[in-house]
Symmetry: C2
Subunit: 379 residues, 2 copies
């Protein structure tokens, strides 16, 4: 049996060996970074090394990194911080991740969705118009926009949005979970107040993330238990997770120049030629690792299962909802709800090879040829 | 040079080799537990194995475990859940951990401290009287009581408290972070609604914990990002951390019969005989791994530093506050604020030997003999 092909890196990427090693080293240090004795000091030093690496990935100062349990916590923390700072109405990109959507809804404040065009790109004119009519009673405008979409890989015009938001004296949170380590990013160049990162999308371990802030931005305290993270997040730090995050960030930073979109695009061309698949977000700037496409009459579930049987791992939409049968809000927001139930996401990572993309395309074409006839599906 | 002696397990315990191995295995699985493909299913199965082990440690059902980023998050979640369920006034044991104290204060609700006696044991009569005068306008009574104190090891009369709270139709949260894996515990026998656990105090990795609930108790959602943890906590699970937690819980469960208090007590006797140290909580039931004592005129900081130089790692109070010079609220609550600045905590763990305790006592006696004269300290 040949080895499996893993193309679900937007759900979780394989661990980089150096990151696994950093996790192990942290486990062996065995000190609490808050302890003053030798083991505690070693733990603290290892923690701060990781903080430097994550800061470098985000173009930020180490002091502006708050480690969290992952990207979802970081997104939630950004929204809580904005509310604490006085925002009374939240604007979210229509294709934001569930952690942004749900955290915003949980505040009980009015939430407005900022529409995207057919390519999945946020409509800057809409934002400009909306901000020009902002009601001061709604407090400081708050906008959340992801840098790259988890399902389609579409890259949003974040810097342009930041200029509009800055002119309206609003604040901007960027979910950079999928973009980090795949395209260059710098919080100040992007013009964001806060930015969310996750370790496990870029070859670090699950369970670690960070909220990055611009110097001077306010981050609310949400977890309690001590003065850790400059008082921004209590509780003993996840040293192994953070150490692995740091190692992965260091490697991802060095890796950014690689553009492997040709591998993805040649797979996509074969599928288009064979089955007329529709590539979502094709006309927009996209992460080079992500391919989201739909094949009418061939359900997402069947595609994912057939590929899995062939040893090729991909997903239908985001992993967070992949257990459920739920139409993708991303594809729906792009005006193609008709395609949402027959789309899949294929996403490579640091370990992906050209051969992986080729084998995926082979397997998909074979699965497509053997797919049940429509009548059988409907029976 | 001889190897160092680590006696700061209440801050963080050394990782058990089997737990480190489980972390590595999880890192290698490399799937997101929410993905439906082969790697995702393997990740899910590994996650659920760990859940079973943690449930067994807490005498709970696997379905009643919510994995968190640690004990602090679990404590905060319990308090948020009680507030969401309608409690309008919070009663906390006077020696609770900072994560309980601060999370309660952050709710903005009135917080009452439930006093302890000179041994550090919560006063049950006080609670009975207080509950009998409960104002219905304050909602359902909520009480948080730790099972064992992090600084002194004192074990609280939790089951007795639960009976009083049950009679008043109140709810009880138990912080079992220090007790778990050291004394037997079962959430139903204890009569608690919720119970907090942490992996890294019992030989698992930092960054993983759990909130255990009795069947039917309500746990509020606080982190968003998907339907993980039965909808109780969103975000990709920290699979490596949880796997290590599971492995450590399994070993700790098997280890519970070991009572090593004789090692600690013989060290304490030597210190008493030599320097008249006062053992905090000595008259109360205590964890067999913990020794908290004070030596008048010999400051906590000097003790910790002198021991560290001798290769013996202990702490002054809890690790969470060990960076700061702050009198222990635990010792203050026991009526001995005069001792708070000259007390240290010595805490063993699964890897601690009799020789470690002996070397600690040797080193302490030597440090005591060489301590600066009082005049020098005051200069």
């Amino acid at each position: 049996m040949t080895s499996a092909v893993y193309l679900d890196c937007n759900a979780t990427a394989p661990i980089r060996p150096e990151a696994a090693e950093a996790v192990l080293t942290a486990l062996k240090i065995g000190g609490n970074p808050s302890s003053v004795h030798a083991a505690g000091r070693a733990a603290r030093a290892f923690l701060e090394q990781a903080r430097e690496a994550v800061a470098a990935l985000a173009g930020a100062r180490a002091a502006d990194i708050t480690f969290t349990s992952g990207g979802s916590e970081a997104n939630g923390l950004a929204i809580q911080s904005a509310v604490r700072a006085g925002s009374r109405r939240l604007i979210l990109g229509a294709t934001e991740h569930a952690s942004v959507m749900e955290a915003a809804q949980a505040t009980g404040l009015p939430v407005e969705l900022w529409p995207v065009d057919a390519r999945g790109v946020a409509d800057l004119e809409w934002l400009e118009t909306r901000l020009s009519a902002w009601d001061a009673g709604d407090g400081r405008p708050f906008v959340a926009l992801m840098l790259a979409n988890n399902e389609t890989g579409v890259i949003q015009p974040v810097a342009e949005a930041a200029r509009l938001i800055g002119a309206a004296r609003g604040s901007l949170h960027i979910d950079a979970v999928q973009a980090a380590g795949r395209i260059p990013l710098a919080i100040t160049a992007l013009g964001a107040d806060t930015l969310a990162l996750s370790a496990h999308k870029l070859g670090g371990p699950q369970g670690a993330g960070a909220l990055v802030q611009r110097p001077g931005a306010e981050v609310t305290r949400s977890l309690f238990g001590g003065g850790q993270e400059r008082g921004r997040r209590g509780g003993t730090e996840n040293l192994p997770g953070i150490a692995g995050f740091g190692a992965a960030a260091r490697l991802a930073s060095a890796d950014l120049a690689q553009d492997r979109s040709a591998w993805r695009d040649s797979a996509a061309e074969r599928l288009k030629a064979r089955a007329g698949v529709v590539v979502l977000g094709e006309g927009a700037p996209r992460l080079s690792n992500t391919l989201c496409f739909a094949c009418e009459g061939f359900s997402s579930e069947l595609q994912v299962m057939a590929l899995d049987l062939a040893g090729v791992m991909v997903s239908a939409g985001s992993a967070c909802s992949s257990g459920k049968v739920k139409a993708s809000h991303v594809i729906t927001a792009m005006g193609r709800p008709d395609l949402a139930a027959c789309a899949i996401r294929v996403s490579g990572g640091w370990a992906t090879t050209e051969d992986d993309w080729r084998r995926f395309a082979d397997a998909w074409i074979e699965a497509h040829a053997r797919r049940p006839a429509r009548k059988l599906v409907e029976a």
